[in-house]
Symmetry: C2
Subunit: 448 residues, 2 copies
Amino acid sequence: MTRDLALLTDLYELTMAQSYFQHRRVESATFSLFIRSYPPDRGYFVSAGLDDVLTYLGDFGFEPSALEFLRGTGLFTESFLDFLAGLRFSGEVWAVPEGRLFFKDEPILEVTAPIIEAQVVETFIINQINLQSLIATKAARCVYAARGRAVVDFSLRRTHGIDAGMKVPRSSYLAGFAGTSNVLAGKRYGIPMVGTMAHSFVSSFDREIDAFRAFVASFPESSTLLIDTYDTIEGAQNAVKVGREMAARGQRLRGVRIDSGDLASLALEVRRILDLAGLHDVKIVASGGLDECDLESFSQRGIPYDSYGVGTRMGVSADAPWFDVAYKLVEYDDRPVLKLSTGKVSWPGKKQVFRVTDDRGRLVKDLIALRGERFSEAKPLLEKVMENGRIIGRRPSLRESRERFAEEFKCLDEAHKAIRSPSLYPVELSPELDSLRDSVGRQLQHAS
Amino acid sequence: MTRDLALLTDLYELTMAQSYFQHRRVESATFSLFIRSYPPDRGYFVSAGLDDVLTYLGDFGFEPSALEFLRGTGLFTESFLDFLAGLRFSGEVWAVPEGRLFFKDEPILEVTAPIIEAQVVETFIINQINLQSLIATKAARCVYAARGRAVVDFSLRRTHGIDAGMKVPRSSYLAGFAGTSNVLAGKRYGIPMVGTMAHSFVSSFDREIDAFRAFVASFPESSTLLIDTYDTIEGAQNAVKVGREMAARGQRLRGVRIDSGDLASLALEVRRILDLAGLHDVKIVASGGLDECDLESFSQRGIPYDSYGVGTRMGVSADAPWFDVAYKLVEYDDRPVLKLSTGKVSWPGKKQVFRVTDDRGRLVKDLIALRGERFSEAKPLLEKVMENGRIIGRRPSLRESRERFAEEFKCLDEAHKAIRSPSLYPVELSPELDSLRDSVGRQLQHAS
């Protein structure tokens, strides 16, 4: 796959590139990536995906087989194909580091490069930032709703394909998930892995308790028994038997999992059964179609779950499966530009976001400004991460970005983190940016 | 990626496997894949993803680096790791071929193999069949709603990652899409590619008409001008100028594209402008947040679009971003089994689906039966596609599956294809399956 990644693009990126090439339009362009609107019930975004974008840009190039394929389409000239053969990404990138909070309209990433280079990388950049920020944001909502209980990723079977299957555990771990069921994600990203048994294990035995005994014999230190294959209450009673047998051997049953039925009332009943048997330290895990709304409801009602396995609804961000991400030309040949299409207006020029915090570090407001502006009381959010096509600075580890997220998220007011109808975080435009936009808009209305 | 695909699984598949291994549970198991319910407004499903599943099963195996990683977790014994080192998929697979219609509760794929083999492949199989059938079904709805107008895939920037970026064009082409913007999908799958220019091309020039002239100079035979960067009506007038200049040179402007605003009223106005200028054969393409509901509305109102670029909402199946797919153990060691969890009841035994058609070939009803049953008036839907771990029979090409889908879809009643509130297609259980389920259910209630 990696070899051909330059072709993982929209055809129009290449037709536009050929037309730029033929008309000698080789000046520097700046494109700005931002999210135009909040999906329902979103009051913030979590930045993710930059690491993959930097790797892609650093490795960018067309393989001979890719060029051969393009030649066969009949759309491209030999001189343009020769040009593509030598094309590398030589530009500059400013970006919001992974794990930072950002808000509607704020640039997350700005690419400055000869226009062809900045154009042909559009599709991949949007694809990765959209997916990973989407999932990190959804996962942050789950972690917030769980109020300190561990949340783990069970989504691999229903993520949209293999790449999402890897990026979902990475993005959700970044946002505070405690682990993933995905073994390959454990290997590649060093994320803690979780998981013990499925219904099929139980139903392959003649009796549920036989399955439980077999499993704890294999994993005496780390068994979580799935108790809802037939009847959850009888399952809990079978787990109690096995738990007592283990205790008699000096072992400890780690937990039970409930995956169906009325999860709230079952947890109360199962906790009672376990406690009556003296199995106070056996944890109860919930799974089965959960999302942040369920978790919040359980938290508010004190339902005695110790942790949650969250799958499909987080892994596809089911209530909002995409962000309205745009990658817009904002400057060409030192001339600020914008687009006036209905509902899709953009801001011209290279930009920076400045974040104002109070003396306790709490987020107060953001300011979108031109990149050259300075505000003594605010810290810039975008960092220069690539120069002359080379990654600069140290790339933070996933764990570092995860810690940074946890720190900053604590400093965002509860009102913006509400699961339903969060209040809008204040984002202002600098007066300079505002007046630039007005003047560019007026020029365009005369020119068109 | 491919090398490590055996690790792209849930950890519990491997912990269960070790417990099966330690308890010498090596008998043959059959797992059945099916969809438990229709998402809102779905009345049928389109089968897709089998080709990738067969490749995966045929290549299945753990690399030394994968085993090394598993050893490092401390969860697995040396004898189990030795066993994994030699593990291949040696089983049998029956499946609904790609591009066939199927319905709720019907088995799409059944795997029979020693239980460890049949278990550890679960996650990947669900992942691929879920994604590809999800998108093929969503795309079929778009094609149906477009009523003969071409629909093309513009979703790559917002699909969930790279793999979905490839599987979405494949699945939507299978379901009747005319092409994709994704160049790599064009290369890998031979799908026609489409796309010309974006707003950034227009805004990089001082005047819109300069951008149009530059582009048609590069692509005199295949230019579709994007006319909504500033003002769509002025954009149409600029396109008319360029179209006339081309006509004077003996060339023909292929089309214009509208990506924002009130797409219905703009199409009427732009068509009028083009026709007044004698540019009757210049096509109008719509894009910008479209889904099957928009397409149906345009079809019903006779809005003069010639084709549609459908992006995000199709590429993430926005109104229903996952199916409730399950892969359930239905037989172990020749004993039919089932699960009784609340809301998640399954059917025991190896099965077949029989499709009854009338004398004109129209679909009348389906019958879910045990695999050994025969019905003279109905044709079986599942085919044996793998035996002893080897693919058997010829794998149909994507184009063949696409044609088969188009043929069968014509034979499904309009009532089941309705975009809103389709009527349920009749699916019955054979009396033999029904009575097996009752008897297995009764046994389980005694055993638990």
